[in-house]
Symmetry: C2
Subunit: 731 residues, 2 copies
Amino acid sequence: MSIYRLKNYIRLLRRVIPMLLLIHSTTFTFAQKKATWIWYPGDFEIWLSNQMQNRRTERATFFPPFWRMDNPYVLIDFHKVFNLEEAEEVMILAEGQYNVKLDGKMIEGYPKTIHIPAGEHKLNLKVHAQGKVPAIYVQGKTIISDSTWLVTNEDKEWIDETGKASDQSGTTWLHAGSWNFNAPDTKPSQFHLATTPQYAVSRAKKDKGFLVDFGKETFGFVKLHGLKGDGTISLYYGESEEEALATKTCETLDRIRINNSNRDSTINLSKAFRYVYVEPAEGAQVDSISMLYEYLPLEVKGSFRSSDEELNRIWEVGKYTMELTTREFFIDGIKRDRWIWSGDAYQSYLMNYYLFFDSPSVKRTTLALRGKEPVSSHINTIMDYTFYWFLGIYDYYLYTGDKQFIQQFYPRMQSLMDYCLGRRNKDGLLQGMAGDWVFIDWADGLSKKGEVSFEQLLFCRSLETMALCADIAGDTKATELYKQEAAQLKQKITEIYWNEQKQAFVHSRIDGKPTDHVTRYTNMFAIFFDYLDAKKKEGVKNQVLLNKQVPKITTPYMRFYELEALCAMGEQAYVLKEMKDYWGGMLRLGATSFWEEYNPDKTGAAHYAMYGRPFGKSLCHAWGASPIYLLGKYYLGVKPTSPGYQTYLIEPNLGGLEWMEGKVPTPHGDIALYCSKKEIKVKAGTGKGTLRIRSAKVPKGKGVNAVEKSKGLYEIEILSNTDYTISYHTQ
Amino acid sequence: MSIYRLKNYIRLLRRVIPMLLLIHSTTFTFAQKKATWIWYPGDFEIWLSNQMQNRRTERATFFPPFWRMDNPYVLIDFHKVFNLEEAEEVMILAEGQYNVKLDGKMIEGYPKTIHIPAGEHKLNLKVHAQGKVPAIYVQGKTIISDSTWLVTNEDKEWIDETGKASDQSGTTWLHAGSWNFNAPDTKPSQFHLATTPQYAVSRAKKDKGFLVDFGKETFGFVKLHGLKGDGTISLYYGESEEEALATKTCETLDRIRINNSNRDSTINLSKAFRYVYVEPAEGAQVDSISMLYEYLPLEVKGSFRSSDEELNRIWEVGKYTMELTTREFFIDGIKRDRWIWSGDAYQSYLMNYYLFFDSPSVKRTTLALRGKEPVSSHINTIMDYTFYWFLGIYDYYLYTGDKQFIQQFYPRMQSLMDYCLGRRNKDGLLQGMAGDWVFIDWADGLSKKGEVSFEQLLFCRSLETMALCADIAGDTKATELYKQEAAQLKQKITEIYWNEQKQAFVHSRIDGKPTDHVTRYTNMFAIFFDYLDAKKKEGVKNQVLLNKQVPKITTPYMRFYELEALCAMGEQAYVLKEMKDYWGGMLRLGATSFWEEYNPDKTGAAHYAMYGRPFGKSLCHAWGASPIYLLGKYYLGVKPTSPGYQTYLIEPNLGGLEWMEGKVPTPHGDIALYCSKKEIKVKAGTGKGTLRIRSAKVPKGKGVNAVEKSKGLYEIEILSNTDYTISYHTQ
């Protein structure tokens, strides 16, 4: 290019660039609103859960779930009515084949941008996709795709012989689903979690290969470096060193075939492990391995620290356990199932409210569990897991105050409840029918026969949830119906199962006769459901919860509720000891995340066995992390008393600690608390709180008005965004 | 390679080749049984219908259906128990991720062949796929995948804490679905129809391009030859010359962009047309076009010829119309909808029984129409179309005797009937509710208000179908229930709608009062449903069917039934004239396939208009081909009298023809017939037939035993595989 030409070229650029900038700014820079990819609500969640739940392998063999998996709808109509002050250009993207209608008139082909004149207009997009979720992304100056769009999977828009369209009066419209796909190129079908490199902390020669230790339980894609030769390299994964070296019985493995073609390789399917035993076959070589840690990027909003370092460590490991198991969804454990189990997820929800307060994760998981119509089995085939699903929605509403979610999915709640109501026996009770798994807990010899009291109790709470949700959905008739059903069932439970002599609910009724077997399950739930009067509560506490004759619970899963029940009765000091004993016990065995099951009586590698397999147990299981929940709700003592923390209670309980401090997240700001035996500091970013404390003297501080509710029990109103420092005297 | 080495090499080959052949023959040559790809029954059909029904375009714009489209299940368990005399190697293929269990034990990885020892063994495959149908192909010596395998979409196989599996007692197993994917490489997901090249019969320069005529209505992929330059080439398709040249209003078009890169190009999406107007834009060139005709390869088993050449031409064009519209499924028309409409399909089934007798096409279409649970609208949103779906099953069973199909899909029939029963008003009648399309027919000003008698009549017949199918499915209680409901409804129909003075059913009841408006629909169906006594039949014939005051039918769709009703009453001579007039009328206008609608009163291009669009009408519509059915069933007069033609009737009626001859296919052989006014020849490959003829004298012939049933009416028993030549005297 000559100088002359270059000059001309620059001159041209000087003229063109401002024009380009102008065009660009006209179209997009002034866009004040941000579009997001949208879909039929629940459909992306179902699609993604299919992707995830079919990633389980057992020793390199595909191991999918045994329940029905559903599908997104393949054909969706999206629409919204806009009122434009001035004309605008609108960019349109879709996942799938699509058409665009403006005011009912189709635009030829697959338009990528359309011009919409000023005034009121209706914009429709209809999208078909098979194998991915029909989704759209629409971005104009004011017109954007978001959850205010309405969607349907059957628009019922037929025409008569003159070409006149029907009025669509039979069509059900829902608000579009969305998450965080906020850019044109972040397509839902391309979703993947975040990754970051991690490296081994040690390496040792073993047998025909080498053992790598990543220092702690982790999850991701192993990368092999310095590959040479021709042959197979086997990777044996272990949550324990023993497992990684047990090439015949470790739960997961990979075999990759190399043939002089590439130096590095990354395993396709992520795995859970701390140790990897790498064994190249004759002729194949590998220098080293590293990994890509895979995770859902979530902000940890909750915190807890105290005068007890072991307890702090328990909280930290609980947090890490939750970070590992909070992924596309709240899953049970990262090594083995990688499935969404309703009972496990329910506990993750509760812990989440004291850790991430991530509502989308709760909603995704709830929707994936529920799937589509018709209901043909209990959730995960488990009767109790159906009820945890309802309970999860009860809590979700209480913690978030999100009414729209309930309004949208009330029909799916109702059909699931219809399924349950339709399976009652002549006495109105539930017992296991063909295909029903009555789970309760992993416990040796636990009876599932007859009408188990635990199932009736959860059923009752689920009916109460339905009454609440029917009311939110404006279904007055059903509200009354569910209330009545709940009240009747509650009465029946007491009549049938309460044993006055034992001061406990018995475990079950068989052939019309209550057994005299007592287990902890029904009794502990009845406490925090607040189904018992004070006298019965005391009876249960002493005759069941603190009674060593009643069979011990060995899963962190049910310890969660057992300790919650004790906390709910003010036994924080006892529970603190239990936590240090049980969770501290796992830490002393070297746990870097909490386990699926822990029995202190076992020793050595016997800890790793379960399901008849030497390494069947998961060493990173969400339900192991319950101290997160207990410490937030019953020690810091923060809980909502009306939906979404409009009002809430702070009832700190040191349980023997010198001091503690922490934060509890809420939808509109954190609640920060410091508490020693003499002083409490509070600052809340939300709602109107009540601090309830016992004190030998009237608590004092700036702006503090302590009202004595009963002898030595004071309540102090906490206003938002105000620093309180309160001095008091522990009794 | 030296000579020495070559010799050694040949010697080696001599030893190895027989071994290879031996291995090969051991594994596959002795395979006596032929495997086929199998899937969850109904799922391939739903998947394929999604593919097909989303191929409609209107002027290059995607135009999908407005009803709910369903999805195959994503996760399927297949199993069968085999008893092997000797061990065998079994080849395994799957569409999707899969695992293999032999006797409940998983085999590592994704095995492609497995060894199965002698003895009894259970083989399970579990397959996951999203976006295509989970399917398997298993081929051993005796072990093959076929429809005897059992499948489920929820195996409910959980384990307890000891690793013990549940007994799967809650699992529903169905027989696998299959079609004709009988080789390892004919994967269901790769399904496509057959194609063959076709060439234009003429070409003329027009405006800025050229018009190509393929000589008759056809369907397929246009190929462009001799492409040059850079620019867009537009293809405007026409079923008529007028349409192809109407670039602003033709129903379908394609625009392809070329840029000097390739000489030839084939359009991706098949189209229906006879004419194509090709218009290259400035800078683009195309020498010529040809096409790939796309079709379902089916044998035409039925035939008809007669002394009337026009009638023969009508039969031939009817046959071609059926060949064009019998594709992945029986569709309505090839130009426009390409959707599966239950009312249209129902007529295709009936014609099919006299043309292809292809049961798989009936089953595919029936399953695709029904989709999955739950029922959320009528089929195609149309109330009458729900009922045709039931009627189609009634006929399917009568013509084929296939009980297994009914046993497998009885639950889907039942849930659809539950939906209908649940929508009855307080008087037990159906009327259009929100979202219900009451269609009946395309007819100006046809009232859909109130309780339309036609819908009740079809509902009644559907209840009768349910009684029949409940019985086949072994559901005794439901059999009685459906029988009762049908009987009650039948009585109500007469009570409410029969107008003694008009000797007709009136059209509807509005606000509890029967109208005095008479239409043909209810009346003609009541005749061939045999719901009327002889007196009422005569009344209907004269006061409705032959009464020109009653609004005329203008669609071949309802002419089908109108003429059937007249034939059922012996009016073949009248109907023959009507056929020559109506279908002959289309032929005289140059039709090469039959139309969606034909009104002889219109002229010129006005014939092509419908739905308010100048070329909205489909000129190749399955429902236009009804003479295929009428000529087979009411002129050749062949119809089954028990399921699957175990017994059947031949009641020939020349209707004024000098002679006619033809074949009617059945599940186990054709029934061939020649009939003149003096002589009848019959040869049947199936069942036991009854030839019923009127004759002035006793009919005679070898092996003929004519029994006079009433004055001049004789019945002759027809045995299979026997030639009969019967002389008789037309009365």
